[in-house]
Amino acid sequence: MRSVSVDLNNDASLLIDIPDALCERDKVKFTVHTKTTLSTFQKPEFSVPRQHEDFIWLHDTLVETEDYAGLIIPPAPPKPDFESPREKMHKLGEGEATMTKEEYAKMKQELEAEYLAVFKKTVQVHEIFLQRLSSHPMLSKDRNFQIFLEYDQDLSVRRKNAKEMFGGFFKNMVKSADEVLISGIKEVDDFFEQEKTFLLDYYSKIKDSTAKAEKMTRSHKSTTWNFFYLFIFLTLKLGKLSDLFEKLRKVEGRVASDQELKLTELLRYYMRDIQAAKDLLYRRARALADYENSNKALDKARLKSKDIPQAEEHQQQCLHKFDKLSESGKRELTGFKGRRVVAFRKNLIEMAELEIKHAKVSNIMTGSHAERTHTLLD
């Protein structure tokens, strides 16, 4: 299942996975399981229950941490979205009166499968988030990360405090200001100039592709559902043909969900990852702006012959910060390139192989049915 990112969870010193999860009404409770050889943890193996909001808290604290300004912070997992199956469950309830017991049971089964698919998807995406952290040389050592993994009480108190501290202010700032700032900065380094141009352009394209892929996947799924109603109907009339349609529909369903995982989810994940990379560029651009301002302040101080040592110190600090960010940023962005290409390769291969496999299965089933129909006596 772990496919949108690769090379994760290889280091035996810290292994994380989400072996199971519970769905209670609207809330999903993930079981986060850790196996470690590191002495920083109290036990070698342990599990804790966590909610989606806990993951968001962890992500936000990492973003706020100054020391990580030069890193690509792995994108936060999206909220579990059971909208689609819930809507269908509702329709099922409404239509119950008009269906036979058999039809109702079949549809309920289908719905449960869809719930399960959404469930698996959300577990995967939360798991990958944690595994990205554990594979990162710096982030894996983060204190809050350790608390997240180990603390066996409810994290909601900490979450509340964090919210009061930051109040979502930084996030809003990043969203509205980054494009302008990043594009406006006068770049001295070729590497970053290229990266900036590339990432800004690529981001808008991948965002578009993600949206179009989602629409396509949704269409594909609703065609499959339609096929399903058709099947229920055909069971009344055309005997064996309905068997074939049911089998074909199941395969189509798998095609649609494979396409979603390998293609749509891939695009969605890297869209968010690129956003995280852009955030890094933003922070660096900000640091550069700060450095330039500190230079101006130093010039002013020299002119006025006032507070020169402080201005010099401030300028040095800004320069140091900017250099650190540039160095770390370069490393992160280069790593990101490689990671992205490898992930695309893996997923595109898997998607093509699955499409071929499913089409061959459908082809065999249809072929044998066509043969049988031919030999049917008039």
Partner: protein
């Protein structure tokens, strides 16, 4: 509804049917001519009890678009749909042994200049099924109800009604499936374009190439979806629509038989009244007028006796025709469904094989990413 439609439908008639002048021939007919043919056939006494194939429905919306001369794919589709429907209609007519003999049918097939059809209002205005249902209601309103000794007719009629309902539901579902597939087509095409743009943006050469290839594959997928939707529609949906109308025609025959029965019953009750009048006269005992009156009454009574006999014979004949027709219809239907299903499956097989080829061509591109 006056548009020239050339139904490419050369009638190849073998030597065994010398009634036709030549082996292969074609004529140009209007849509209203087809309706006119149905009108002529449906009122013929000699064909009562026969399942006369109903013509395709008129479609105001579709026709208006074509008239306005819009060249878009939906009007092209509409014309093709109509052409295919008319072709099936005529083929059903000529495959019916009694109809093939009919002079109106032969005239329709052979005559170069066919007089304009009039009186197609009932059909073009209300549509075939509405017309059948109206007639059905009239039959049901008649007060004398039949007591069948043989339940075959009642049972069969019920079967036909049920089947018609089921096919309607199925048709609605297939229609909905077609629409969803068309939507999927649109979304796939849009996605393909987006993927092509992304491929252009990509700075890794091999990945860029792979993404462009993926865009092409998705384009081909859109085409496949398009063809699958057409297949769903032209093979499946139209088959169902035809049989919904045909079952309506079957119901029409049963109604004709009912009407024949009612006519017979009414004649019998009239005969009864005449006989009673005759008997009354015999008791009246007016010797002078008796002989003359008696002759008159006897004439009338005899005429009604003849009618009753005729109508009873008509009723029996129609009953036999209906039975024969229904059996033939069921055989034809099974054949029709089977051949259409095979066509549908074969189209699906083709589609699947092409899909496999597309993805197999893409796979090495994906593997070449480095």
């Amino acid at each position: 509804f006056d548009v020239d439609v050339a139904v490419t439908n050369p009638e190849k008639v073998g030597n065994s049917l010398p009634m036709f002048r030549s082996k292969t021939f074609s004529v140009r007919r209007r849509f209203s001519d087809f309706l006119g043919l149905y009108e002529k056939l449906s009122v013929k006494q000699s064909l009562h009890g026969c399942i006369v194939p109903p013509p395709p429905e008129k479609s105001v919306v579709g026709m208006t678009k074509v008239k306005v001369g819009m060249d878009d794919p939906s009007s092209v589709e509409f014309v093709e749909r109509r052409r295919a429907a008319l072709e099936r209609y005529i083929q059903r007519v000529v495959s019916h042994p009694s109809l093939l003999q009919d002079p109106d049918v032969r005239e329709f097939l052979e005559r170069d200049d066919l007089p304009r059809a009039v009186n197609t209002q009932a059909l073009s205005g209300a549509g075939f099924l509405k017309m059948i249902n109206k007639a059905s209601d009239a039959v049901n309103k008649m007060t004398i109800k039949m007591n069948e000794s043989d339940t075959w007719f009642e049972d069969k009629f019920q079967e036909v009604e049920n089947e018609e309902q089921q096919l309607r539901k199925l048709h609605a579902l297939v229609d909905s499936l077609v629409n969803h597939r068309k939507e999927l087509c649109g979304n796939t095409a849009v996605f393909a374009k987006s993927m092509a743009m992304l491929g252009n943006s990509e700075d890794n050469t091999a990945l860029s190439r792979a993404l462009s290839q993926l865009a092409e594959v998705e384009d081909k997928m859109e085409q496949l979806h398009q063809e699958q939707a057409a297949s769903d529609f032209f093979i499946f949906a139209e088959l169902l629509a035809d049989y919904i109308r045909l079952l309506g025609a079957v119901r029409g025959c049963f109604d004709q038989r009912m009407r024949a029965w009612q006519r017979w019953q009414e004649a019998q009750s009239t005969l009864q009244k005449k006989r009673e009048a005759e008997a009354k006269l015999l008791w009246a005992n007016k010797p002078e007028k008796l002989q003359q009156a008696k002759e008159e009454i006897t004439e009338v009574t005899k005429a009604w006796e003849a009618r009753v006999t005729q109508y009873e014979r008509d009723f029996d004949r129609i009953g036999m025709t209906v039975r024969k027709e229904v059996l033939r219809f069921e055989k034809e239907k099974a054949k029709d469904f089977k051949s259409q299903i095979i066509k549908y499956l074969e189209a699906m097989l083709q589609s699947q094989q092409r899909l496999i080829k597309f993805w197999e061509a893409f796979l090495p591109e994906a593997k070449a990413i480095a």
